[in-house]
């Protein structure tokens, strides 16, 4: 490894950003409630996202109860069922996954990993959280208005979303749209922070290509979100006007209960285009941070540099770019021009190339590595398997001819739950086990963690594999009950009941995890400094958990990339990013001190 001589280093500008005057809180309220510290905001985001996610989890239990035992639960009527479906989907995708990955992990990790004291716009960052909280509370409020929350499905397709036959069409749908608009405004404030912090607040020596892949994933996902959410924003505003003012942006001429409505001429497909122009990048807004985080988990816990770092970065960027040209593969059956379908099928399948590259590199990182079967490692391996599984069914659905018969069946449900439900969640769990000691200073309970992993991992397959099969049988999604359906055998009901039981057991395991997190915060084993012996900067703070301002009086200086594991000759098997090179290395005798961990390409 070539070492840049100290003299050359001194010729550099002193730091990429002048050390800024931090906002110092004066009272308990500004320190923990209206805090401008990214770490506190991160915890606020995570707790809020977790709480609303718990609501969505309970909704999924209720749906499963209805599907597994259709005649047993009188308190779930069709209206409730549609409301559960809609809220479960919307909460999980936007209010939980997006908020947790970007608002939670992004806020906590970006400043620490790039060596900044805080985000560049702390006030805006605080505002971002409070607007997000308002959006969440507004969403919850829709249960307490006449008609309840909207039951339009998470895609909110017009015209049915605002017609009176759909649950929540009197005010639930308006509340949903306003809440989404608020979420987007709040997210944009946070997103500006993440992007500018990565680009302008990196510490001395932290080049873009020395950033951990976690930062690359979150950064690219934020750029996607900033460019994709406007589509949902425009769609939401226009649909609100259709519903409130009676405009006809999306509403065609329509007869309701034998009466002509005032609407006419609008284009429901236009909404679908806007929605999916947001909706497909949204998949990668969730997936890219997961890709980045899982790369770091694998590398740390296998004590090996990530294989093909540059390719991993490029793949993240290329996947992000491609995700903007595939949206209409969600619309093969919408009646659009078949040639469009051909184009979008091609782009969709091309995404498999950089994605497969990432999977190979994760696997090759583990090749001959010193794998530690810690909890984060278990979840990371679980992710790779699950993501491949969900990704392969994506190849099926990406082809027009295969997609058409499978559209709107349970197969689609199984596909997206595997690829953007279970897979990112496994990463989130792994990441929480990994960074919990950094955030709280205590370890999570190992035994409960292993129980949580095995039940969740095996359980997810027990739940979703049969659902693929139900899809092949032709069981449609979004149906309250099957009734007398000749082409679906009675055994499908048995399978549904089985899935429900499995789902309840997996749900219980999540409660164990919740208990573990709450209990360990006060009585977990005290974590030593840098317990996983990680290279990256977030573990090198003078105090753990990091104090206000993250770094002591001096910002850290970065000498190497974030994957210096298995370094021969070093005192331990890793060298931290901010550890100065030894004198021997500086004098040129560097090959024995720190040989290149990866052969030059």
């Amino acid at each position: 490894m070539a070492t840049v001589a100290p003299a050359e280093a001194e010729a550099l500008p002193p730091a990429e950003v002048e050390d800024v005057e931090l906002y110092h809180s004066k009272s308990w309220v500004t320190k923990y409630v209206f805090s401008q510290d990214a770490k506190v905001i991160a915890v606020q985001y995570s707790v809020t996202a977790g709480a609303i996610g718990l609501v969505a989890l309970v909704l999924s239990w209720l749906m499963r109860l209805q599907l597994g035992f259709p005649d047993l639960f009188a308190f779930i009527d069709p209206t409730d069922y549609y409301q559960f479906i809609t809220m479960h989907g919307m909460i999980m995708v936007i209010y939980l996954l997006t908020a947790l990955f970007l608002g939670g992990f992004g806020n906590y990790l970006i400043p620490l990993m790039v060596g900044a004291r805080d985000m560049v716009f702390p006030y805006l960052n605080m505002l971002s959280y409070w607007i997000y909280l308002a959006a969440v509370l507004l969403l919850l409020a829709s249960w307490f208005v006449p008609g309840g929350p909207t039951g339009a499905g998470w895609t909110l397709y017009p015209p049915q979303a605002i017609l009176s036959g759909t649950p929540g069409s009197d005010s639930g749908i308006i509340i949903m749209l306003v809440s989404l608009a608020l979420f987007i405004i709040g997210f944009t404030m946070g997103g500006l922070n993440y992007v500018v912090t990565v680009l302008q607040a990196r510490t001395r020596g932290m080049t873009l290509m020395r950033m951990p892949l976690t930062v690359w994933g979150i950064f690219t996902a934020t750029v996607l979100a900033l460019l994709a959410f406007p589509a949902l924003f425009v769609g939401a505003v226009m649909m609100t006007l259709d519903s409130l003012l009676g405009t006809s942006f999306f509403m065609p001429s329509i007869v309701e209960f034998g009466e002509y409505l005032e609407y006419g001429g609008g284009s429901p497909i236009l909404f679908q285009h806007l929605f999916w122009f947001f909706g497909h990048p949204e998949v990668y807004i969730v997936a890219l941070p997961a890709f980045g985080i899982v790369s770091d988990l694998l590398s740390v816990h296998a004590r090996r540099h990530i294989f093909g770092y540059r390719m991993m970065v490029w793949a993240i960027v290329i996947i992000g770019a491609l995700s903007f040209v595939v949206w209409a593969h969600h619309m093969y059956v919408s009646g659009m021009n078949p040639w469009f379908g051909f184009f979008f099928a091609t782009t969709t399948l091309i995404i498999a190339v950089p994605t497969a590259l990432k999977v190979y590199n994760w696997t090759l990182t583990l090749w001959k590595a010193n794998i530690q079967f810690t909890l984060p490692m278990l979840f990371a391996i679980g992710f790779i398997v699950t993501f491949v599984n969900g990704g392969i069914t994506g190849l099926f659905l990406g082809n027009v001819v295969v997609d058409v018969p499978l559209s709107d069946t349970m197969f689609v449900v199984a596909h997206f739950h595997m690829v953007m439900g279970v897979a990112p969640l496994l990463v989130i769990f792994g990441a929480i086990y990994h960074w919990y000691p950094l955030i709280t200073g205590r370890m999570l309970h190992e035994g409960m963690g292993r129980f949580h992993f095995w039940v969740t991992f095996v359980g997810a397959y027990i739940i979703f594999f049969p659902i693929h099969y139900l899809g092949f049988l032709g069981v449609p999604r979004r149906y309250y009950e099957m009734g007398e359906t000749s082409f679906i055998p009675a055994s499908a009901d048995t399978l549904n009941a089985f899935v429900t039981v499995a789902a309840l057991i997996v749900g219980f395991a999540q409660l164990v995890f919740l208990y573990n997190m709450i209990r360990s915060a006060s009585s977990g084993k005290i974590a030593e400094h840098n317990p996983w012996r990680a290279v990256s900067l977030e573990w090198q703070t003078p105090e753990m958990p990091p104090a206000h301002g993250n770094w002591g009086p001096e910002l850290p200086v970065v000498y190497r990339w974030a994957y210096a594991y298995g370094v021969p000759g070093a005192a331990e098997d890793f060298v931290a990013q901010d550890a100065p090179p030894t004198l021997a290395a500086a004098s040129g005798d560097d090959d024995r001190q720190e040989p290149s961990p990866q052969p030059a390409e």
Binding site: T3, R210, P230, G265, A600
Partner: protein
């Protein structure tokens, strides 16, 4: 391209303190400049998507082109003047002329407020003539486009107000210069957006 130089670096080969090729020559610019640029990208996407939707909806048979109220012409002139006033404020700030800066900033903000009132008056005129949002998609798009553009300008006026506060409490002119410059960039952007949107509505 520096970005490509950044992305093709081989981080495992070099150790030591190095600078990133894309970071430029070390000249320090407040992060707010980059933040504003990113926000302008977001706003550009919003307005572009609205124009795409406009184009798509126009193709439907029920579209009856709207005769834009004549008031939009003087409004446009006011917005142009507002942008010029802020540009002048930036120039005066660079020269260190505090009074000129105050004058330019005040004129820019006041003219922007006049523009917003003018837009509201145009709305009232249309409503008085019976052109409601629900009566035709062209009308609906007119209210949507002018409304969203107006809201963006209103947001700009908040930033403008904060700059006025800083001016009022006597911040030094070097620090003020950045705030005024950011306001001016945003104003020019919104002027460009308005000219494009106005043109789109005039010619369709």
């Amino acid at each position: 391209m520096n970005l490509f130089a950044s992305l093709s670096a081989k981080p495992w080969q070099v150790q030591g303190v190095i600078a990133d090729p894309s970071d430029g020559d070390g000249e320090f610019r407040p992060p707010a400049y980059l933040g504003l640029k990113v926000f302008l990208a977001v706003a550009t996407v919003i307005f572009s998507l609205m124009m795409v939707a406009y184009g798509e909806r126009m193709e439907m048979g029920d579209w009856r082109p709207l005769r834009e109220p004549w008031l939009l012409w003087p409004n446009t002139a006011v917005l142009i003047l507002s942008s010029i006033a802020l540009y002048w404020a930036v120039v005066r700030a660079r020269l260190g002329d505090r009074d000129g800066l105050r004058l330019g900033l005040l004129a820019g903000g006041a003219l922007a407020a006049v523009f917003l009132v003018g837009q509201l008056a145009a709305w009232r005129e249309l409503i008085a003539l019976g052109y409601f949002a629900s009566s035709n998609p062209a009308n609906a798009f007119f209210y949507l486009i002018t409304g969203l553009h107006g809201l963006h300008l209103l947001g700009g006026l908040i930033a403008w107000g904060r700059t006025m506060t800083k001016l009022g409490r006597g911040d030094e002119i070097a620090r003020l210069g950045a705030s005024v410059e950011l306001c001016a960039i945003y104003w020019h952007f919104l002027l460009a957006v308005w000219l494009i949107l106005f043109g789109l509505m005039l010619f369709t």
